[in-house]
Amino acid sequence: MFAYILRRLWQMLPTMAGVVVLVFVLFNWVGGDPSYLLAGKMADARAIANIRAQLGLDDPWYVQLGIFVRQIATFDFGNAWATGEPVSHIIASRLGPSLTVLVPLTVLETTIGIALALAIAFVRGSLTDRLVMVACTVGMSISILVYIIVFQYGLAYKLGLFPVQGWGEHFTENLLRYATLPILIGLAVSLAPTLRLFRSFVLDEVGQDYVRTARAKGLPERRIVWVHVLRNAAIPIITYVMANLPALLIGAFLLERFFGIPGIGREVILAVERSDFPVIKAITVYVAFATMVFNLLADLMYQAVDPRVQLT
C-alpha cells in the first residue's frame, strides 16, 4: 500500500512538471508583455524597463522558470498586481467561503443523485424513466446563467425569501443565510447530469450475474437494489465525485460571482478581468495539483469500497 502511494506520487512528477511548464509558457511567451499592463496608460520607457526588472523579465528564461518553481514550492507568489494582497493570503482566505457552498452542495447532490438513480433503476424502461430522462436532457440544455438569473430575481429579489447577495463573518450565518440559495441553484443545475450519469452506472450493474443470483434466491427487489447494486455502483460514483471535487472549486465561479461570495472561483474571474497574472498562475497550478492528488485518493478509496481491487 505504502509502496503503491509512493510510486503513484513518483509518477505524478512528470505531469506536475508539465503543468508548471505549460503555465509558464502560456504566461511568459503566449501572453503579451505584462509590464505594459502594469505601467498603465501613461507609460514611458523608463517605467517599463523598471517594471521589467522588478518582474525579472530581463532574466534568461531558465532563471524565470526557477523562480516560478520556487514560488510554487514555497507558496509565495508575492503580491497580487491589482490589490497588493499576498497571493497566498488570497487563496487561504477564499477557500473557506468556496467550501461553505461546495461541501453541502456535493453531499446533497451525491446523496439525492444516488437515491434518485436507484429509484429510477427500479422502473427502468417505463414511461416514468423515459420522462425523467427527457426532463434531465431539457434541464441540462438551459444555460446555468438562466437558472441563476431567474432564481435570483424570482426567489431573492421579488419574493424576498433569500438575501439577493452578500456574505457575513460567521460560518453558520453564511451557511444558513447567504449560501442557501446558491446551494439550491447549484443543486438544480447539477442534479440532471449527475442523475443521468449515476443511472448509467446503476444500469451497468443491474444486468450482472450477481443480481440474477440474488433474485433467484428470493431476495426482495428493494434489498437487491439498495444493498447489492448500490455497493457495486458506488465504485464508479466515488471515482466521479472525488475526481471532480477540485474542478468544482472553480466550477462554482458563476454562483460565487452572482451572489457576491468571496470564493476561489470569483477570485479567478476577477483576476482574469484585471489581468492579475500571479493570482491566476497560483490558482491554476494548485488546482491542477489538487486534481492529481484527488485522483489518487479516489483510487485508494476504490480499495476501501471494493476488496476485490488490489492496488499494486
Binding site: 505531469t15 508539465g18 503543468v19 444555460s143 431567474v150 474542478a247 472553480i250 482574469v272 491554476t284
Partner: protein, 334 residues
C-alpha cells in the same frame, strides 16, 4: 443477382430514420443551421441594429406601454434658430441624410412581435443574429478540437512507443487542469477579444476527449489485416493513418464532435456573458443574457426569454440528436 450489403453509414442512416426522436431533433437542428446560413449571408436579420421601436418596446401580445409610447412620436425638428451658429450645418446634414434614405423622423413602433431591447432593436432579429455567433463558434471550435484530437490520437495510437508517451503526457497535463480553469487561463493570457479567440480557446482546450477515444480506435485498427495489406503495397504511414484507417474511425470523430458542439455553445455563452468572449458590437446569446440580466430587474423579461429559449431549444435538440447518432453509429454501446 448480387445483393450489395449496406455500409456503416447506410445502416446508421436507416436506424436514424426509424428513430422518431432523432428525426425530430435533426429537423430542429437543421432549422437552426438554416437560420445561421441565412443570417450569415445577410438575407435575414442583417438589419438587427436598426432602432425600429421605442426603447424596451414590449411584445405585441403584452400590449404597448403608455409610458413609452410618448417616445414613439417623431421628434419635431428644432426650428432654425438665428442665434445657433451650427443651424446651417444641421439643416444641411438633415437634407443629406434624407437624400440617402435615412429617415430621421421615422415613427418608431410601440410594440414588436417579441419586444425590443434597450436601444429599440428587434429582439427576434437579435436572437437570430446572436444565434449565428454562438452556433458558428460552437461548430468551428468543435471541429478544431476534434481535428486536433484526431491528429494526436492517430499519431499516438498508430506509432505507439515514444510518440505515444509524449502525447499521453500532454493528455495528462491538460486533463489535470479543470477545463473551465484552462479556458479562463487562456482567456486571461490571450487578452484580445474576438470570435477567433474564443474558437482558439475552446478548440485548444477541448481536444482531450476525442484524443482518448481516437487513440484507442487506432490501436485497435493498426493490427487489422487491411492495414497490413496497405503496408504490403508500400503505403506510407500518413497514408495508412488517414486514407485507410481514418474512414473506419470517422464515426467516433463525428459523435465526439456532436457532443462537443453542445458543450462549446454553452461555454461560449458563459464566456461572452462574462465579457471574455465576443467583442463589443458583436451580438451572441451570451451577450444578450448579459444585457437581459439588468433588464429583468426593470421587468423587461422578453430578451432573456428569447435568448434562453432559443438556446435551450437548440441544445436540447442537438443533445438528443448526438445521443441518437451515437446509438445509430455504435449500436454496441447502447
Amino acid at each position: 443477382m448480387t445483393t450489395v450489403s449496406p455500409g456503416l453509414w447506410t445502416l446508421a442512416w436507416r436506424r436514424l430514420r426509424a428513430d422518431r426522436v432523432a428525426m425530430a431533433s435533426l429537423t430542429v437542428v437543421c432549422l437552426f443551421l438554416l437560420s445561421v446560413v441565412l443570417a450569415a449571408t445577410g438575407l435575414v436579420a442583417a438589419d438587427w441594429e436598426d432602432e425600429v421601436a421605442v426603447n424596451y418596446a414590449p411584445p405585441t401580445f403584452v400590449g404597448s406601454d403608455p409610458a413609452l409610447s410618448a417616445l414613439a412620436q417623431p421628434q419635431r425638428p428644432v426650428p432654425p434658430n438665428a442665434f445657433d451658429p451650427l443651424a446651417g450645418d444641421i439643416a444641411q446634414l438633415q437634407t443629406q441624410l434624407a437624400k440617402q434614405g435615412h429617415a430621421t423622423h421615422l415613427v418608431k413602433k410601440t410594440t414588436l412581435p417579441f419586444g425590443a431591447d434597450k436601444w429599440g432593436h428587434d429582439v427576434i432579429r437579435k436572437t437570430i443574429k446572436g444565434g449565428q455567433t454562438s452556433i458558428v463558434v460552437g461548430l468551428v471550435a468543435a471541429f478544431v478540437a476534434v481535428a486536433l484530437g484526431t491528429l494526436f490520437g492517430a499519431l499516438s495510437g498508430f506509432y505507439g512507443g515514444r510518440v505515444d508517451d509524449l502525447f499521453n503526457w500532454f493528455y495528462s497535463v491538460f486533463t489535470a487542469i479543470p477545463s473551465i480553469l484552462m479556458i479562463l487561463t487562456v482567456a486571461a493570457v490571450l487578452q484580445t477579444k474576438g470570435v477567433l479567440t474564443i474558437v482558439l480557446i475552446l478548440g485548444l482546450t477541448g481536444w482531450t476527449g476525442p484524443y482518448r477515444l481516437i487513440r484507442a480506435e487506432y490501436i485497435k485498427h493498426k493490427a487489422r489485416e487491411y492495414v497490413l495489406a496497405a503496408d504490403a503495397i508500400g503505403a506510407s504511414g500518413w497514408r495508412k493513418m488517414f486514407v485507410h484507417i481514418f474512414p473506419n474511425v470517422s464515426h467516433v470523430a463525428l459523435v465526439q464532435m456532436s457532443i462537443l458542439v453542445v458543450g462549446f455553445i454553452k461555454a461560449e455563452v458563459i464566456l461572452s456573458f462574462l465579457g471574455f468572449g465576443v467583442p463589443v458590437g458583436v451580438v451572441s446569446w451570451g451577450s444578450m443574457l448579459n444585457e437581459a440580466q439588468n433588464e429583468l430587474i426593470l421587468g423587461k423579461w422578453w430578451q432573456l426569454t428569447a435568448a434562453a429559449t432559443a438556446m435551450a431549444l437548440l441544445v436540447t435538440a442537438f443533445s438528443l440528436f448526438a445521443d441518437a447518432l451515437r446509438d445509430a453509429l455504435d449500436p454496441k454501446l447502447k
